[in-house]
């Protein structure tokens, strides 16, 4: 009981509880990089709290100081002298040892689009471009149906029949195909951005857009301009997302 009144013990308990919540309370599991970040923040907060007044800080330091200098803690010091370097050594080994998988990498959220692109010899201005088929509301259903057919014929294998990036081939790719249901993908972007990505795919990315890995084919050789706009209509309408609009000029 006395142990849990100790500031040091309380700090340890908070850290352990935080770790358990972050490690086991989040499903699917949080990536190790995020877990480390969260734990670093919790550790900082705990240290700030225990040192935010002198009494608390003295109480927090008492067991540490005692372990380091008290004559009766000689055995504990000896154990720490062996265990702490071993733990650091183990950590260094796990970080340095070769693993049978590609190392984690930083990825950009969205590659930056060019101002204009060449589409089958025609220059298309991406900046400020809207989907021309949206003006044709009378034929919206027709465009949607055409877009759905194009999607099923060409895109479903990677992006999945639920448009969630879980197609048949998805598990063979790193990074996995985009999940259109995620509000952080197409809902964040103007339709012109999608037009560029579909038309040019991975091979057509400008060097400014790197680092970016993509196995997306360049669909400009297989789909017409209208077909690309149709499939874009399908992507937004089928997922219930709304395309980002351009901001008005100041």
């Amino acid at each position: 009981m006395n142990l849990f009144r100790s500031r040091f013990a309380q700090a340890v308990v908070v850290l352990v509880i935080a770790f358990v919540i972050f490690r086991f309370g989040i499903r699917p599991p949080a990536p190790w990089s995020v877990l480390t970040l969260y734990m670093a923040i919790v550790l900082l907060a705990v240290l700030i709290y225990v040192s935010s007044d002198s009494d608390s800080w003295r109480e927090f330091m008492r067991p540490i100081r005692s372990t380091l200098v008290a004559p009766d803690k000689r055995l504990a010091r000896l154990v720490l002298l062996i265990v702490v370097p071993l733990l650091f050594g183990y950590y260094a080994y796990t970080q340095a040892a070769a693993k049978p998988q590609a190392p984690p990498e930083l990825r950009a959220v969205h590659p930056a689009p060019p101002g204009s692109i060449q589409f089958r010899g025609k220059e298309i201005q991406i900046t400020g471009l809207d989907n021309p088929l949206r003006k044709d509301q009378a034929n919206f259903k027709k465009h949607f149906a055409a877009g759905a057919e194009i999607y099923i014929r060409n895109c479903v294998y990677c992006h999945g029949d639920n448009l969630d990036g879980k197609g048949h081939f998805a598990f063979g790719f790193n990074p996995p195909p985009a999940n259109f249901q995620d509000p952080g993908t197409i809902a964040m972007l103007q339709e012109a951005f999608l037009f560029w990505r579909i038309a040019k795919g991975g091979p057509g990315l400008p060097k400014e857009s790197t680092p970016w890995n993509s196995v997306m084919p360049a669909w400009e050789d297989r789909l017409t301009e209208e077909q690309i706009w149709q499939v874009i209509i399908y992507l937004y309408d089928a997922t219930g997302q709304h395309p980002r609009r351009w901001e008005s000029e100041h």
């Binding site: 699917p28 970040l37 990074p175 999940n179 857009s209 609009r245 100041h250």
Partner: protein, 577 residues
Amino acid sequence: MVALLTLLSALPALAQDAAKEPAYRAFPLIGSRLAVWAIAQLHLNFAAFILGVPIFAVIIEIIGWRTGDAQYDWLSHEFVKLTFAAFSTTALLGALLLFLFIGYYPKFWTYMTSIFFPTYGVYAALFFAETFTVYIWYYGWDWLSGSRKWIHVSLGVLSNVFGTAILLVANSWVTFMISPAGVDESGALKGSVWAAINNFTWMPINIHRLIANIVFGGTIAAAYAAFRFLGAKTDEERARYDWMGYIGNFVALSAFIVLPFAGYYLGREIYAFNQTMGITMMGGFMSWLWIIQAILIGVLFMGSNYYLWLGMERIPGSERYRRYVPMLIGILAFGFMVWATPRSMVITLDEARAMGGTHHPVLGFLGVMSAKNTAVNMMILTTFLSFVLYRRANKVSTKPWVGTGMAIQWAALGLAAAVVIFFGVYGYFVESLVRIGFSVYQVLAVLGAIFVVMAIDIPMFKGARSTGAIRWGTIAPRSQYVLILLAVTFTWLMGLMGFARSGIRQHWHVYGIMRDNSVDAVTPAIGYAANMITVVTIAFFALVLFIFWLGGLGEKGRAEAHGHAAPVIAGGSDRRP
């Protein structure tokens, strides 16, 4: 004679070579880009300091003048002394930067001159005016005292007017490089230079830099005070510099609270000017800078609050507010976690498969602007609450309406928090453009709550019963290291964000107008840039330490600084803020 004839015959060839001036020259060893980058960043750091400090120095002088409290006058003089010491270094670095541009980027500089030549004269005139005004302000401190104090204060105000005008002129050059305006497709000026000055990002950067300069000036001045506190030999000295550190941090914190709003406005304007630039900055290869930025700003929030809580220890009566600390730190830590959560995470292939993509289905929601804006607004509200508790730590209101006043204050804070969270959550259910607009409501709610709370707090605690005087100089020494940490963190952050602002031009000197065809026409990786900024930050603090040391050296052997006694403020008056 032969040599002379040979030289004469070679003159036309030399003249021809001179006429074919190269577009670039290579700076020895480190290359031209690194040389310009380092000197530009150092110049900007010093310039931010000498432009930021006088803004609050003159306000403090006015407070001292109107209240007749000599301590404020002493403090204002201390701040201006720091500015004064850094003045010549700023000018030297500015001249060095100019030489580097002319020598190593002659074609670029010729182009910039073709656009901005009319502003050069204005800039030089302003610089002379600023310099001489600050000279008279500093050296005339005693001469223009007493009944002539108003003239002295006016000089302080005037130096700020000139300083701000210098900032606006220099900003027009740098913002033109990001968002050129007033030129035709070949880059030639179409009409008046005003169109080039008043470009898309000019005003957002003016606002952002002006506020950031105050924060920066405050943190550096507080770091100076911490430096003097830690080396103090007497209790009086310790008390004085404890107070100075508190004021420096208070100034920095006050301006820092509104800085994220100005930054958001700037980011939005960059996005509106050019989508490619905006996406490069926020979602493209620079997106990871924002995670580093979030971590640094999280450290600034945590550090500022920590300093306030440590400071409460020297205030009798503050014990009753300690119970709020766990709640405050909980909100700050949670906000920090949300803000630092990346949208696209660093993951192994196994982790990506377990998550079903690069975006985590739960944590991914914390990676978008709705969550970030909510987190930062909550952190601002929390920091403000810390300050309010600090402010009233040794005061007990005697007003009969204190209960009602407190209730309204808590209601205002609660309502602001509710508005911030509501729009944060609602932002997930609307389209991007609408969501961006929500940030305005969140900001207004927070600023509104700050206004309401202070409007009640000031009269409520006017003439309040004191629970004891603040024991200046008794703060835990670790608090002073926090002040130094805040200054270093903010300097590093400025460098990092400066890289983001400049790097989004990518391979353009002037975006879309003048291509960078030098050997350095590649945007450096974030790690490379971070290392570079670290080196510049270390160099800056080495120079600042030298200046601080010089400042102390000038006082050695003198009991009084600049002729009037430094006030004794140990156990000082609780009239101070």
